[in-house]
């Protein structure tokens, strides 16, 4: 808990906790926005990218002459033309010392490795001219066998994604609790167990599908460059571009103006950003590239895409004894910024909120001829949460126990926090029991169970199921030293500065770069409280490396927890310096001053007081300051958390399954989340809603599908089903509040909670509806066809009902129907 006495005495109207309407909205609801694609610069040229129509091929020739001659075309560049200057796109997270990175040119040179890979770029005077000329580039491809299936890719004798590599494995990462000293011997735990349940789960490939297509504008001015990009990470982008292109960092300014959503999908250094910078440098002219939606779905990175082999061991009473996870994670054709880090981050969350004595995680990063995967809302934690929350239900079914009762028996109790898990994480605070009870009340659990019973007894074709997800996640990425221990190439700190202006207004500079999260509002609330100034008097500056020079940007629910903490610490420094000046001006000792509602007053001396705004003005005038004091009360702060924060919650989904048609419908969805201190309840609730929509979409609607040749068959919004308002219910949301002890706000992070928690709740609900009909798994997304097949054919309704050769090269396991005795589960390769 944050000590109350550390905080300034509060104005009667405390800003933190208030449902403030957002400052950002004024421009967004009137169309007065600055999307990158709105930028028009004098003499600006337009880029269009020629993309590979095949998944895997040698490029034998490229003829650009016709395109070069087309009206409006200025020049056409191929990978070979820029081979000396394009560098390799960065991967900042080499998770193991022997990780294999094939290198990733921004424009392909000799071979292409996924459909949509850039092979040339057209530079033209209008966008239409550039697009027209794309058709005129003639590329000869010598087509190779594409590698498309992860499990086949790691089998003996598989075709190779990159023929200069020895295999399709990029890395093999292992966390073993026994070896790490956080748990007991895992194999022994399984050997001793009375019950072992094994499952193979598929985390289908998803597309972040931010609504604003990516867009880049680069303006050269001599040897200086300004890049506007629809990015989540202007600071990281600037460093990486400097390293990749050789444009010196101090001559590159990166601006993220209004950004229309990201969800991890704009956490990247993209080929197109590199290409735009290279072209602008070559031609000395401003350039713009904006993608179409089809281009976006095909070439912006994808998320998830894991095959998970999960074994859980327990005794007959339902006490869990061990967990083993073996994961194949599809990297796609190349490693992008944090591709390998996504499953590795998840490694520390597979155990969920349960007290496992033994745990082992193994993961192979696998290359295939598909677009690379990388962070997508939750990044590693949705995959982990799905696995544990699904397997807990399977274990409950095997034991004949209530799914919630099994969880209760094994979860960390409120009085046990802080609790160090078998994966080595120290969970900070929480109370799973209270959140669960509230969620049960919110959804009307007892009535739903009664209705379920009635429907079963009457043999109603529409069955009802109730599914749980009692989850936690790690937020506030991240303690720099922990990232170091995981081989991540950067720290996890965040920077802020606060500038008090002479008129008493306040500029807050944050390194955290929003794309819809409402930083301007929430940060203003934080600062208004700490400085005692009106909310309206605070302006938050962000997203421009020349205005906000230092930062680590926005992803992993780190903004408030790390970035907000830096803001609060900067505010404390401002108050500390203002206090010294106030003492000087009031001729009092600092100890006798109290700071309340933005005013310093001398205890026991009525009338002797100065507002912080008056001190700002006195500092500007600088007529009378303490000796040696610099005339400003600005302050910088950098916050590096000691630990992650661990939001948690209980999500409950009630779902109807039509056993005749396979159609599913969410009847009710309730969740109670503990995200620590709530700075703005409106924003928190909005983030939960949005996350729920995305998590439910994974369960029910969305999947990036490639055909046998490696073409993305879900390449438009006609085929890739981002849910509309009509596809979703309203949600009943609530909160418990246990402050995070690891930051001065007490916040835990909220951006990913809904997305992480909802997917298993929804699938568990569907299975609860039809388990009595013999269905034990349904592969996501739960399309009517899959549900119907699961009901009628058995299996999971997926296109691969049982694994062939398993992840580790051994014999087939009955993993989709894998309730097994220890003997059978541990036989053979296991």
């Amino acid at each position: 808990m944050t000590a109350v006495e550390d905080r300034p005495a509060q104005a009667p109207e405390r800003e933190v906790g208030k449902a403030r309407r957002r400052k950002e909205d004024a421009r967004l609801i009137t169309g007065a926005t600055t999307w990158t694609d709105n930028m028009v610069l004098p003499g600006m040229l337009h880029l269009a990218v020629v993309r590979s129509p095949v998944a895997h091929a040698k490029i034998t020739a490229i003829d650009v002459s016709a395109a070069q001659e087309a009206p409006g075309v200025v020049t056409v560049l191929t990978g070979r033309d820029v081979a000396d200057e394009q560098g390799s796109l960065p991967c900042a997270w080499p998770v193991t010392p022997d990780m294999v990175n094939p290198g990733h040119p921004s424009i392909a040179v000799d071979e292409v490795n996924h459909v949509g890979e850039a092979v040339a770029v057209i530079v033209a005077r209008s966008k239409a001219a550039a697009q027209d000329a794309v058709e005129l580039v003639d590329v000869d491809y010598d087509v190779l066998t594409p590698v498309l299936d992860m499990e086949e890719a790691v089998a003996e004798g598989a075709a190779l994604t990159h023929d200069h590599l020895e295999s399709n494995r990029s890395f093999h990462f292992v966390f073993d609790g026994g070896e790490a000293g956080t748990g007991t011997d895992t194999d022994q735990a399984f050997a001793d167990a009375e019950v072992v349940v094994s499952r193979r789960f598929v985390q289908q490939r998803l597309i972040p599908a931010f609504m604003e297509p990516r867009s880049v504008v680069v303006q050269p001015q001599g040897d200086n460059y300004t890049m506007w990009s629809a990015t989540q990470v202007p600071h990281i982008l600037r460093v990486m571009l400097a390293m990749v292109t050789g444009v010196p960092e101090h001559k590159l300014r990166v601006v993220a103006p209004d950004v229309g959503g990201g969800f991890g999908g704009k956490l990247q250094v993209t080929p197109e950003e590199v290409i735009s910078l290279l072209v602008a440098r070559r031609l000395g002219k401003p350039v713009k590239w904006t993608e179409s939606r089809s281009e976006s779905l095909m070439t912006a990175h994808h998320g998830r895409d894991q095959v998970q082999y999960i074994d859980i061991a327990a005794d007959r009473e339902g006490n869990v004894k061990g967990l083993r996870c073996r994961i194949l994670a599809d990297m796609g054709a190349y490693l992008r910024l944090v591709s390998p880090g996504v499953p590795v981050l998840g490694a520390f969350m597979f155990n969920g909120i349960y007290k496992f004595p033994a745990y082992r995680f193994e993961c192979d990063g696998v290359f295939t001829n598909k677009v690379p995967t990388d962070a997508y809302r939750g990044a590693g934690r949705p995959e982990a949460t799905f696995a544990i929350e699904r397997i807990m239900d399977e274990l409950a079914a095997e034991l004949g126990m209530d799914a919630l009762e099994l969880r209760r028996k094994n979860w960390i109790k409120a009085e046990e926090f802080p609790f160090t898990t078998v994966a080595g994480m120290t969970y900070d605070s929480g109370d799973y029991e209270t959140a669960t009870q509230q969620a049960l009340d919110l959804i009307g659990y007892d009535e739903l169970r009664a209705e379920q019973q009635r429907r079963r007894e009457s043999g109603n074709p529409v069955q009802l199921g109730i599914g749980f997800s009692t989850f936690t996640e790690m937020c506030g990425l991240a303690p720099s030293r922990v990232l170091g221990s995981l081989s991540y190439g950067a720290g996890g700190w965040e920077h802020a500065s606060i500038r008090m202006l002479p008129t008493g207004k306040v500029e807050v500079v944050t390194g955290s770069t929003p794309h819809g999260q409402g930083h301007e509002t929430a940060w203003s609330q934080l600062v208004a409280d700490r400085l005692g100034v009106p909310f309206e008097d605070v302006e938050v500056l962000h997203g421009d490396t020349s205005v906000a020079p230092r930062g680590m940007d926005t992803y992993g629910s780190r903004s408030l927890v790390v970035g907000g903490a830096a803001v609060v610490n900067a505010a404390e420094k401002v108050v500390a310096k203002a206090r010294r000046i106030a003492a000087h001006l009031l001729e009092a000792s600092e100890e006798d001053l109290q700071f309340t509602d933005g005013k310093f007053s001398v205890r026991g001396t009525p009338g002797a007081e100065l507002a912080i705004q008056e001190i700002a003005l006195a500092t500007f005038a600088a007529h009378n300051l303490p000796d040696g004091m610099e005339p400003s009360i600005d302050a910088d702060a950098t916050f590096d958390p000691e630990n992650f924060s661990f939001p948690h919650g209980t999500h409950i989904c009630a779902m109807e399954v039509d056993t005749d048609t396979g159609a599913v419908r969410i009847r009710k969805y309730a969740c109670v989340d503990d995200v620590g201190t709530i700075v703005n309840p409106l924003i928190v609730e909005g983030q939960i809603h949005g996350g729920l929509a995305q998590g439910i979409a994974q369960a029910l609607f969305e999947e990036a599908v490639y055909d046998a040749d490696g073409n993305l068959t879900t390449g438009t919004f006609v085929d890739y089903l981002v849910p509309s308002a009509a596809d979703l219910p309203s949600f009943d949301t609530g909160n418990t509040v246990h402050e995070a002890p690891g930051n001065p706000i007490g916040a835990k992070g909220v951006g990913e909670a809904g997305c992480i928690a909802s997917t298993p709740a929804v699938v568990n609900a569907a299975l609860d509806a039809v388990r009595h009909l013999g269905v034990r798994d349904i592969r996501m997304p739960l399309t009517p066809e899959r549900v119907w097949r699961a009901l009628h054919d058995g299996g999971d309704g997926g296109d691969r009902a049982t694994a062939g050769t398993n992840a580790y090269g051994g014999a087939s396991t009955e993993s989709t129907s894998g309730v097994s005795t220890p003997a059978s589960s541990l036989g053979g390769d296991r």
């Binding site: 906790g17 208030k18 449902a19 403030r20 309407r21 957002r22 909205d25 004024a26 421009r27 967004l28 609801i29 009137t30 169309g31 007065a32 926005t33 999307w35 931010f210 609504m211 604003e212 297509p213 209004d258 950004v259 229309g260 959503g261 969800f263 179409s292 939606r293 089809s294 209270t434 959140a435 509230q438 794309h515 819809g516 999260q517 503990d674 709530i678 309840p681 924003i683 609730e685 983030q687 939960i688 809603h689 949005g690 729920l692 929509a693 995305q694 438009t716 919004f717 981002v722 509309s724 308002a725 009509a726 979703l728 309203s730 949600f731 009943d732 909160n735 418990t736 509040v737 809904g754």
Partner: protein, 184 residues
């Protein structure tokens, strides 16, 4: 090139356009009406929604030449210079019906059209009514609330073009905020 006469947000423009120019590109590139945005290339997302002769259209499915002689209202025209926000804009703000805001202009224009058709829609009718507009951030619930609030207000105002003058309701504190059910 074809010449068109079109009235956009109260101003009449006479312009030459290529026959293939889509209305959304005419608005954005020739008139600088960049409040209307493009989110897809298959007419599925609704980001580009404007009103043509009082009816919501996806301006990426309309050729600029088809707007010849017509009257277009964009998000910029919903709030006349210096005028009050339209009740729908205010409702989106008050109900937190937006996050990144990219879908918002289109969503607001579609929602205004929905209320013109049906001034008192149920939640179900609102959800069906804005089905053609995708939002990736909000999960739609607060958008539905916004449309409900605007509907109530526009009904009491008499019609959608009425520009209410009263101030926004006071801020709500945590204890009173909806759906915060308890503190442990």
């Amino acid at each position: 090139m074809t010449q068109i006469n079109v009235r956009v947000d109260g101003v009449t423009y006479t312009d030459d356009v290529e026959p293939r120019t889509l209305l959304v590109h005419y608005l954005r590139e020739q008139l600088g009406k960049v409040g209307t945005v493009v989110g897809c290339d298959t007419s599925n997302c609704g980001s580009c929604t404007v009103h043509l002769d009082g009816v919501a259209v996806k301006s990426c499915t309309v050729l600029a030449v088809q707007s010849d002689g017509g009257e277009v209202t964009t998000i910029e025209g919903l709030t006349p210079q210096g005028g009050d926000l339209h009740p729908m804009q205010r409702a989106f703000h008050e109900m937190h019906g937006l996050q990144c805001g990219f879908c918002t202009p289109g969503m607001i224009m579609a929602s205004v059209d929905l209320l013109n058709e049906n001034p008192d829609p149920s939640e179900h009718e609102i959800r069906e009514g804005i089905e053609g507009n995708l939002c990736r951030c909000t999960g739609y619930q607060n958008i539905v609330r916004a449309v409900q609030q605007a509907a109530g207000e526009m009904r009491t105002q008499g019609n959608g073009s009425a520009r209410p003058t009263h101030a926004a309701p006071a801020e709500v504190d945590t204890a009173a905020a909806p759906h915060v059910v308890g503190q442990a």
